[in-house]
Amino acid sequence: MTNQPGGGGSRFALSFSSLSYKAQRRVIIVLFSLIPLALLVTFSYLPLYRMVYYSFFSWNGFSKNLTFVGFDNYVTIFTRPEYFGVFKVSLYYFFATFVQMAIALYFATILSFRVRGKNFFKGVLFFPYLLNGVAIAFIFMYFFRPDGTLDALLRLFGLGEYIQLWLGNPDIINISLAGTSVWRYMGFNFIIFLGVISSIPSDIYEAADIDGANRWHQFRYIIVPSIRRIIELNVILSISGAIAVFEIPYIMTGGANGSSTFVIQTVDTAFKFGKFGLGSAMAVVLLIIVILVTLIQNKLFKEKGA
């Protein structure tokens, strides 16, 4: 920032460098923020505004007739209990979140120490996150189908008696799907944890070594406190994600057999039943729920961290 931008030559740069340092800084800050802000407004706030706007209308998505209905859509949502029943499904993903974070933290910690084939394993662990959600859904369809990959694996290990209808059994389907979700998003948590852990200065470990701390002590008293912030952030993201889970169940089952989530219901309402106003209202409700959960969580963490 303190360097002269442009480095002279053109007339613009000359006149620019004649500005005071403060003024230069301001111009640069504004110019640099302009593009991301424009993107943010265009793709986040404008659609958000329209979504809230539509939530007060009865509209089938493309007809020119929009009828203003006030809060009717919201009343509908809150007077139909079946809309909220699906949040039970979110609980599966919520618990899966902790499994996911634990695995991610475990691998991140191990791979932050000196291990053979470190980069290879990093790649392997992060790879699922790079895959397209649709591809993953298809992979797991074959994985879970009767006589599919999972059943074959179990038989290979002589565990054939444990074979289930992984997606057909309504008691298991959400666990299977949440498992798929863990497989997919664990890499993301992992790479973030790995990044923070590697930012811990190595002399701290050395000092701990000299003091006779073992790996577990190092993890408990050095790593965890140093990355606490990031764990919190990951928890917030994961929980919001659990409430708004959509992609994997939608592609794999379309919300059938008791795997429907609130977002799937929203999409069905808007696209299958042509109620865009009601769908928008549901999306707004979801948004408010996520904000509330985030605020509550923040409050809890603040008290603990004090």
Partner: protein, 457 residues
Amino acid sequence: MRGKKFWLVALSLVFVLSLLAACGGNNNANEPANNTGNNSSSNGGNAGGGGDAAPEDISGEITVLTQRTDIVDSVFRQQYVPRFNEKYPNIKVNFEAITDYEGQVKIRMNTKDYGDVLLIPNYVLPQDLPDYFEPLGTVEELSEKYLFVNEQQYEGISYGIPITVNAQGIVYNKKVFEAAGVTDVPKTPEQFMDALRAIKEKTDAIPLYTNYAAGWPLDQWEGNRTSVAGDPKFTNYTLVRDKAPFSEGKPHYVIYKLMYDAAKEGLIESDPTTTDWETSKPMIANGEIATMVLGSWAITQMQEFADDPNDIGYMPFPYTNADGNVYSSSGGDFKQAINVHSSNKEAARAWVFWFADESGYAVSEGGISPLKGEAMPETLKAFDDLGVVLISEEPAPDEENGWLTMIDQQSEVGLFASNFKQRIIEAAIGNRNETIEDIFADLNERWGKAVEQVTGE
């Protein structure tokens, strides 16, 4: 410390917000097109043909939207366009094939850019047709030459010509039926169930494949409602006034009870949740599946995988009406139409009528030609032998046009959405704590309420 925390939360909030907004944006990012769109809807008179100009004089470049991603190159570009250009040398035709046709085109229709020629998506309300599509002519004039031009009409003006005409029924593998000792095509639900039981007992084939996971193949069952009703007025006159259409003996009861019974007796695939549409085609061709409830459009797709195309047969929905007839409801597939915002309407019109008159699309796809008086396709020859009577839905009277769609969407029953059909199968295989009677009662209640709201009766 506080400041940092605030930023952390703010940042994550923004992140979550943008994620959500992206989700919501999908549904809502498009404004409804401006209200001045219905400018050219009044000049709807000149029907038929390609207008008055000689074919050579029509020039321009048009984009045709199609759902046939599979044959857009091999058939549309390489066969149709050269033949089309022989007659209309100065029209350049481009194609845009869309996999999720319904979903994408509906959203694009909020803009002006949705091709020059396109297929009218389902669930466009008739009164909205003039805002989006160019009138092709009066129903009266066009129906002298074409079938089902009244399926997308508003106030006597037609906006689309079907690309092909389908009959409804069940695709089956003849060899499996033979192996199971079923010689006669079932004509009642009981006979059909017996056939399924025989297949389960005597062969390794799955008696009835539901394609539950893909969802939309279940909607194909709904197409048989007019076959079972045996009354052309059923859909647009009876159903829109019936406050309990899922009651015993009524067409919807007959159709979905059969679905339930087959699933309940284990005559369907062992795990419906992992079915796959694409693999179901070779499976029925190889005799691993005995039957699938699908429109006649599916016959050729199944035959492609069969060693002997004659193994694939087609039968009507097994229901004999009181008059002793077995009906098969037929109706137009997607209707091809012209974008009202197109800048090359002449050229677009030339394509639409050429496609209907001369392309031969319907016949080569195993469907019934939209041209009146053409012979039944090879695939449906069996219908003639069985004495099946084709029946088609009578369109709603103008003042009730769109009622069915409105009731369906208002009630969230979804006659052409997979939701309640999946629910029926789940209940049948014991995944839900409700009986078929519970489901029918719930559907009846929702439908009845919506009927009251929409019809005001």
